[in-house]
């Protein structure tokens, strides 16, 4: 400073950096950590030197619970894992079991699975947007997003009975067919949705404060992202064009016309733009799926695995016997192991099931995308300020239920 300020003589200006660093604990009860996450931040003033995530505050022992439950009972547990994308968890688990059993899923069931999964992806991204914007300071967006989300939850509740924990898919197809009037209401929602996404853009994307808080923050390069195992929008935000729906297609995703949005920068803003564009792409896929619905069965033709319809169970003896055996004893799954990856809303959700030939699995493991995405947080947050850590956590879109299982 050229002109010294007028400081009274008893004070002196100290112009050397502090040589002590401060370790603070952010969480586990914290409004911006999106769940019970604890971060140990080593700070030099406001700047983060090192951060270490401490997880396990929501560890539920789900993987051990699976070993004590029959395969169809495990579907209920998968809902509670990534609780913002429960239909995705259901789908991954059911598909892994179907791979072991070698079941052929009918076309209507696959189309409805795609429709529900894409609706669920939109709902998950809406929660991400609402909470991310809330952490950065834009509270209005939270209410707008949850208003849209209520419509999707009503649709999912109409189909399955549960808003947040639907357990709609079964091993071999669906729980039951879509109710009457579902297609009309779904079409109504899908027609109004793109206007809502544009509304979110007017609220956030042009806002200079939001741009300054997200552009250039939390960069990760493409090579680092692949090395750290990032997947989903976090990877696509770094410029890597990888989507499991295109790379290892499942549920006839290869028949749908959609783009995979990528952004080259690798910062919080890039991940934000990828997810906003993904909402529009999911909307496109849902509209295509809805238009392709044709009448047909929704359960595979495997009487020893799939529960019969209630009317058949009440009138036919063999259906009754099958129903009883499936519910009471379960069905035997051939010995072996499978790993089934799907593109969940957060990234590559992989289910590893190892079967010893009985009606209960020997080992079920969920590769949660948030678990791996969070492990890259120290890389992204080094050198950023504390307030930026909040923005970075928001952009990773973590769900602690999936991380801790």
């Amino acid at each position: 400073m050229s002109s010294a300020p007028n400081i009274p003589p008893q004070f002196e200006i100290v112009d050397r950096p502090l040589d002590t660093q401060m370790t603070i604990s952010m969480g586990p009860q914290h409004p911006s950590t999106h769940g019970v996450l604890r971060l140990e931040l080593v700070l030099d003033g406001e700047m983060v030197i090192k951060t270490t995530p401490d997880i396990g505050y929501l560890h539920t022992g789900m993987e051990k619970l699976f070993e004590y439950k029959k395969y169809q009972q495990g579907i209920v547990i998968t809902d509670r894992m990534d609780y913002l994308n429960p239909l995705g968890n259901n789908l991954a688990y059911c598909m892994a079991a179907e791979k072991l059993l070698g079941l052929e899923i009918p076309e209507r069931a696959q189309t409805i699975r795609v429709l529900m999964c894409e609706l669920q992806r939109i709902a998950s991204h809406l929660v991400w947007l609402g909470t991310h914007a809330l952490d950065i300071g834009a509270m209005t967006v939270f209410f707008y997003c949850f208003r849209e989300r209520e419509k999707i939850l009503n649709l999912i509740e109409a189909a399955s009975g549960g808003r947040l924990t639907p357990s709609y898919f079964r091993i071999g197809g669906l729980m039951m067919d879509l109710p009457a009037g579902f297609e009309r209401r779904c079409k109504q929602f899908l027609e109004a949705f793109p206007a809502a996404v544009d509304e979110f853009h007017t609220l956030l994307s042009g806002n200079r404060i939001f741009q300054k808080r997200t552009q250039g923050i939390g960069r990760i390069s493409a090579e680092d992202a692949i090395d750290w195992g990032l997947s989903g929008p976090c990877l696509r935000g770094s410029g890597v064009n990888l989507d499991i729906r295109r790379a290892n297609p499942y549920c006839s995703y290869e028949n749908y016309d959609f783009e995979v949005p990528t952004e080259p920068d690798g910062d919080v803003w890039a991940r934000y733009m990828v997810r906003m564009r993904e909402m529009k792409e999911s909307h496109k896929i849902s509209a295509q799926a809805l238009s392709r619905l044709k009448p047909g069965p929704v359960k595979a033709d495997a009487p020893k695995v799939v529960l019969p319809d209630r009317e058949a169970m009440k009138s036919h003896m063999d259906a009754l016997i099958h129903h009883f055996l499936i519910v009471a004893e379960g069905f035997d799954v051939p010995a072996g192991e499978v790993y089934q990856p799907i593109e969940a809303s957060k990234g590559e959700l992989g289910v590893y099931i190892r079967s010893d030939g009985g009606s209960k699995p020997s080992r079920v493991h969920f590769r949660g995308p948030s678990f791996v995405n969070l492990s890259a947080l120290p890389v992204m947050a080094e050198g950023e300020m504390v307030a930026d850590v909040v923005a970075i956590i928001g952009s990773l879109d973590i769900v602690l239920g999936e991380i801790d299982r």
Partner: protein
């Protein structure tokens, strides 16, 4: 609040019905929750505060992040064994009067998860005033629970809710006992593990409900 201490100590024999109804009306109309969303029920709690089921109409205007400024702790979600001491500590940091709503099956009784990792019911850690069943409960059920809590608050007496004296509270929660995991600060070798983690809050021992 200082008023209860004064009333309870100076005028133990005096019935305070009019004062009680005034104080209780003020308390129940502005129950500010502490953010304690743990798992899936937290999302339904967020749904209860958003525009369709607006919890703010019932007085729960803001969710305070700091427990020192909160009245009610809505435990929404499953409490794992690693989280349990943190839950107790947050509860202790809340000043009187405080209430606890246990939201969802996991907080009430462990829910679906009867295993090594989950505490089977948050009432093993903190005293609970209202239990909400459901997995997850609908937002309307949370609104109903808040209304039930308001009924409960209106039946209380102001003298039952005295603060825990300062020395007791300070002694109960030893500072610096959150686990430090990467050795960046000095490890305390003298963690008081044999002591009970905390003392029972005064209103846990009162007989009214």
């Amino acid at each position: 609040m200082g008023l209860e201490n004064v009333i309870a100590e100076a005028l133990p024999e005096v019935l305070t019905t009019q004062l009680d109804s005034l104080i209780n009306w003020a308390r129940k109309s502005s129950l500010w929750p502490a953010t304690f969303g743990l798992a899936c029920c937290a999302i339904e709690m967020m749904n209860a505060t958003s525009s369709r089921n607006d919890l703010a109409r019932f007085g729960a205007e803001v969710f305070r992040a700091s427990p020192r400024q909160a009245d009610v702790m809505i435990v929404s979600g499953r409490v794992s064994r690693k989280m349990a001491p943190v839950l107790r500590r947050i509860y202790d940091q809340m000043p009187e009067p405080k209430w606890v709503i246990s939201m969802g099956a996991c907080a009430t009784s462990g829910g679906v998860f009867d295993n090594y990792a989950i505490v089977q019911g948050v009432d093993k850690i903190v005293p609970v005033d209202v239990y909400i069943p459901g997995c997850p409960p609908r937002p309307e059920m949370l609104v109903h629970a808040v209304m039930m809590l308001q009924d409960k608050v209106s039946k209380e007496s102001a003298r039952d809710r005295r603060d825990v004296p300062e020395e007791e509270a300070r002694e109960a929660v030893p500072p610096g006992t959150l686990p430090v995991t990467d050795g960046s600060t000095a490890r305390l070798n003298t963690l008081p593990e044999s002591r009970p983690y905390t003392i029972a809050s005064r209103h846990e021992r009162r007989r009214s409900s």
